[in-house]
Amino acid sequence: MKISTEYLLITYYGDYTSKIIADWLAFYSKSVKIFYTDKFDIELKSILIGNVNSHLMSSQFSQFKSEKHYISFYRGGMVKLSKGTNSRSNPGDFYDFNSRLKYFFTTYEMSQKEIVDNFFTEKYTLGKDNGSRTNKIINLKKAIQIGLKIPNTLLTTNKSDIQEFFKKSKIQKVITKSLDIGLFFGDKKEKKVFQQLTKNVEFEEIESFPETFPLTLFQEQIDKILELRVFYLKGKMWTSAILSQQQENTQVDCRNYDIERMNRVVTYNLPNEIETKLHLFMKSISMDTGSIDILLSKENEYYFLEVNPGGQFTGYSEICNFNLEMEIAKHLIENEK
């Protein structure tokens, strides 16, 4: 039986970037599917090892067949099992039936998720089924080990630590941002969207904080001249510079833009030394693609901030004429052989 190849883009509904990648794959006469993890789930049925007729079921497509090879790009979202609880539980008390049963289902579903992942990634895969998340703190530690500069960073549960952080590090300004993916939600009735951005915290403002609070991330605010977005794809890099300092509202976070007066964005040549370090960094965290945020300080020093596995790069790609979606499509096709 001839095994054909199908390209699978796994993402969340409304992801414009995946549509463009699909468009490019279609341009190269490839068969492609986009799987929306937030709208559809997967049911495993009839997996018989050693038999090519086994298949996975999905509520979006009639079925994923094992006589096809899938070349997958985990762009965003997280694959869900239908009828699954999709929650995790610890083994719990040996004599407590409820907690032991919960743990039984945890491992039962983990196995199914691994089978689905293996099904989609056996031939070739880009990205991971991790819902576009990575660990900011571990990544900062890795970045330092590689020799990249990072802003002084504090993860704390109490007010006095932040005050001490200001004094000891002789820091003038700090920012706070989410430890993981920032809160982002909409209110249909109010026709409003809310987004957690990076925000600066004034020293006086800290007085109003409770003495203790759940673990929160604070970072030294670096005076910058540029914000850089580096799109990384298996060792290749494309860098855009965002001139965010020209407008007050984008000085701390360029995502706080005004649509009528957008920041100027241009292509940028990173020094070879920084590119090499970024490549080593991405290898050290086993991330094959992602969008890296960097600052260029007034002292002409590059500061690594974070990397986003599912970053929004299409806007920068269009302005800088990078055609990144075409590059991704070509990369996936090259790995079909």
């Binding site: 979006q60 409003k192 987004q195 609070f213 991330l217 510079a241 241009v266 292509t267 040549n269």
Partner: protein
Amino acid sequence: MKNRIINHYLDKTDIKENNLPVDLFFLSEKKNPDLNESNEIINLSIKDINYIGQERISSISKISLIFNPEHLL
């Protein structure tokens, strides 16, 4: 700590204010909400998400300039 948005939505949940990390109290309204996107979800159809054998003309006529940071220093 108070934040108009977070306190408003928190009232509809069982989560207590003192269980939130401080960064959530800096939540803000998005300046340019793409409300069309949420409308689009309602009109989802399978034919929109299968692309097979479609032709595409790429636009590669734009010219990008290489930016030199030294000009700013």
